[in-house]
C-alpha cells in the first residue's frame, strides 16, 4: 500500500513532480501517464507576468545543473484561464506553486487560488534563488512565519512551504513555518551556485548565479530532510537529486513522508512512474505492508 497523506490531502502514492521541472503538465502528456503521479506541482506562478532572466539560463555541472530561469510565467490570470482547465481534467491532485514580491502578493494569490475547487494545495515558493532581491523570505524565520501565517489565514487548502537550503539553520526556518500553520514543508529548493567559462572569462549563466540541482545535491538534501523531520511534527516532503526509487526511499527513511522528483524529469520523462513502481517492488521485497511505515525509520543505533 503506497497511499500517503499530507495534511488532509490524500495521495495515491508519495511521488510528486517538483515545481519548475514539469511545466504545467501538458508538456509531458504524450510521454507520461499523468494520472498515475501522486501529485503534480506546477511551475511557480506570480501575480503579474514575469519575463524571466537573460540567457543563458541553464548550465550543466558535474552530476547536476544550474538554472536561472527567473520565474518566467504568464501571471495568475493567464494561469487560471489557460492552464487550469487542462490541469483540472488530469484526475490527480494539482498543487499550485506561488511566489510573491511581498506578503500582500502571497496573500492575494492564495486568496484567489483558494476559490478554485480543482486545486488541492498551494506550495509557497519562498526560496527561489534566481530573483533579484535582497534576501529570500526563506532565509528569515520571521518573514517565513509572516508569509505562511498570511496564507494560512486565507485558505483551508493544504499549504506546503518550500524551504531554501541557502541558510545557516534550516530547522529554525522549518519550525517557523510549522508554527505559522503550514501543513507540510518541502525541502530543498536549489542551492545557490555559479559556473565560469574560462575562455570568455564570463559566468556561464546570464544571471551570473543560479540554482544547483540534480544528483550532486542529494547528500546535503538528505541530511537536511533528516534534521528537519526529527524536529518537526508536520510531514516533510523530500526534494534533491532523486533519480530513482532507491533515492526516494533514502529520503523517506530519512524522514520524508513524500518526495518530489525534479531534474530527473529532464533526463527521463517517465521517471515518476518508475519511482512509483520501484517503491512498490521494495515494499514487496522487504515484506512491508504500508509505505508509511518506512518514514523516518533510519536506524541510527550503534
Amino acid at each position: 500500500m503506497i497511499k500517503v497523506k499530507i495534511g488532509k490531502l490524500k495521495l495515491k502514492n508519495p511521488v510528486m513532480t517538483a515545481s519548475g521541472t514539469f511545466g504545467y503538465a501538458r508538456e509531458f502528456e504524450k510521454l507520461v501517464n499523468l494520472k498515475q503521479i501522486g501529485a503534480i506541482i506546477t511551475k511557480t506562478i506570480t501575480l503579474n507576468p514575469r519575463q524571466g532572466n537573460l540567457m543563458p539560463r541553464i548550465c550543466e555541472t558535474p552530476s547536476g545543473m544550474l538554472n536561472a530561469i527567473g520565474l518566467q510565467n504568464e501571471g495568475l490570470d493567464d494561469f487560471l484561464r489557460e492552464k487550469m482547465p487542462y490541469l483540472s481534467r488530469i484526475g490527480t491532485p494539482i498543487i499550485v506553486s506561488i511566489s510573491g514580491n511581498n506578503i500582500d502578493e502571497f496573500f492575494i494569490l492564495a486568496k484567489r487560488l483558494d476559490k478554485i475547487r480543482n486545486i488541492s494545495g498551494i506550495e509557497l515558493n519562498i526560496s527561489c534563488p534566481n530573483i533579484n532581491c535582497e534576501g529570500l523570505v526563506a532565509q528569515d524565520a520571521k518573514e517565513t512565519y509572516e508569509v505562511v501565517k498570511a496564507v494560512r489565514k486565507i485558505t483551508t487548502k493544504t499549504v506546503i512551504t518550500k524551504l531554501s537550503p541557502n541558510v545557516t539553520d534550516i530547522v529554525k526556518i522549518a519550525r517557523s513555518a510549522e508554527d505559522a500553520g503550514t501543513d507540510a514543508v518541502s525541502l530543498v529548493n536549489t542551492f545557490l551556485g555559479m559556473a565560469i567559462d574560462i575562455n570568455t572569462r564570463k559566468p556561464k549563466l546570464g544571471n551570473a548565479t543560479g540554482g544547483l540541482s540534480g544528483p550532486c545535491i542529494k547528500p546535503i538534501a538528505v541530511r537536511m530532510v533528516y534534521e528537519v523531520s526529527k524536529n518537526l511534527d508536520i510531514p516533510v516532503i523530500g526534494i534533491g537529486g532523486i533519480m530513482n526509487a532507491a533515492d526516494a526511499i533514502e529520503f523517506m527513511l530519512a524522514g520524508a513522508a513524500a518526495i518530489q522528483a525534479g531534474t530527473a524529469n529532464f533526463i527521463e520523462p517517465g521517471v515518476c512512474g518508475k519511482i512509483i513502481k520501484g517503491i512498490e517492488e521494495y515494499l514487496k521485497k522487504h515484506k512491508i505492508e504500508d509505505v508509511r511505515s518506512i518514514v523516518g525509520k533510519l536506524d541510527i543505533s550503534k
Binding site: 519548475g20 541553464i58 538554472n67 530561469i69
Partner: protein, 260 residues
C-alpha cells in the same frame, strides 16, 4: 513524441571530428519532419547528466544523426558500438516549412549550411527534392576538412556550391559572399525561401541579406537545452512576439521574427 530505446545500427567516423549514428527508431522516423530534433541520453550514469539535442540528419529505416564529438556527452556517444542501445526522445520541435506550390511564382529553395549546420539541411534537401522543388545548396566552413555533406546534397540537386574561409576548397571567403555571388547570377523570377543553419554570426548575416531582398528566411537555432520539450524554459529566444522556446516553438524560426 516518444522516448524510445533505439538500437545503434552503426556509429561511424565521417570526418575530422564528425560522426554519423544510425538508430533503429521507426516511430521517430515515421513521425519526423525536416528541422526537428531528438534528445539523446549519452551516458548510462549521472555524468554527464543531461541529454544532448541532435537534429535529424536523415530518415531511412530509423533516423541518422550527424554530430561533432565536441564535449563529454558527444565524446561518450562517439564511442558507442553497433548493437548497443540509447534512449532517444523525439521527434521534437518545429520543422522547416516547405514552399507552397500554390503561390503565383515558382518556388525555389536556397539552402545555406555552415559547418555542422549541414546536418538538418540534408533531411530538408531530401524532402524538397521529393516535392520537386528547385533547390540550390551553399556549403561553407572554415577550411576543407570541415565541409560536410557535399555528396549528400549533390545526390538530390545538381546546384551545390562550396566555399571555405581559407580557400582550401571551393571558393574563398565566407558563405555569405558565395550567397551574394549566386544571387547575382541567377534569375529572380522565383519565390525564394532561404533555409539556413550554422554559426550564430552566419545566421544573422544571411538573415540581413534576406531582409534586404525580401526573401523569406528560416533559420535553425541552437541553444543549450535541459528538458527539450518546453517545460523548463531554459532555452528562450527573444522574438518580436516575446520569449519563445528553441525546443518547442523552434528550433526553426522565421529570421525576421528574431531579435538578433
Amino acid at each position: 513524441m516518444k522516448d524510445v530505446k533505439a538500437k545503434i545500427l552503426s556509429n561511424d567516423k565521417v570526418g575530422h571530428v564528425y560522426y554519423k549514428m544510425h538508430l533503429d527508431a521507426p516511430y521517430i522516423a515515421r513521425a519526423a519532419k525536416p528541422g526537428q530534433f531528438v534528445q539523446v541520453k549519452c551516458s548510462d550514469s549521472t555524468e554527464p547528466l543531461l541529454r544532448r539535442p541532435f537534429s535529424i540528419h536523415k530518415v531511412k529505416r530509423g533516423i541518422e544523426i550527424l554530430y561533432e564529438a565536441v564535449g563529454r556527452g558527444t565524446d561518450i556517444l562517439s564511442r558507442k558500438k553497433e548493437g548497443g542501445f540509447v534512449d532517444v526522445l523525439g521527434p521534437l520541435g518545429s520543422g522547416f516549412s516547405m514552399p507552397d506550390r500554390a503561390s503565383s511564382l515558382e518556388p525555389r529553395a536556397i539552402i545555406i549550411a555552415g559547418g555542422i549546420g549541414a546536418a538538418p539541411l540534408v533531411y530538408l534537401a531530401d524532402e524538397l527534392a521529393k516535392k520537386k522543388i528547385k533547390t540550390i545548396v551553399l556549403i561553407g566552413a572554415k577550411t576543407k576538412h570541415l565541409i560536410l555533406c557535399e555528396k549528400d546534397f549533390k545526390k538530390v540537386t545538381p546546384e551545390v556550391y562550396v566555399s571555405t574561409d581559407d580557400g582550401s576548397y571551393g571558393c574563398r571567403g565566407l558563405v555569405s559572399k558565395l550567397f551574394h555571388k549566386i544571387l547575382k547570377t541567377t534569375e529572380s523570377k522565383f519565390e525564394t525561401i532561404v533555409y539556413v543553419c550554422g554559426p550564430h554570426g552566419m545566421l544573422k548575416c544571411i538573415s540581413d541579406i534576406c531582409m534586404e531582398r525580401n526573401f523569406e528566411c528560416q533559420v535553425s537555432l541552437e541553444e543549450k537545452m535541459a528538458c527539450g520539450i518546453g517545460a523548463c524554459l531554459g532555452c528562450v529566444v527573444n522574438t518580436r512576439s516575446g520569449n519563445k522556446l528553441a525546443c518547442k516553438d523552434g528550433p526553426v524560426f522565421n529570421s525576421s521574427e528574431i531579435i538578433w
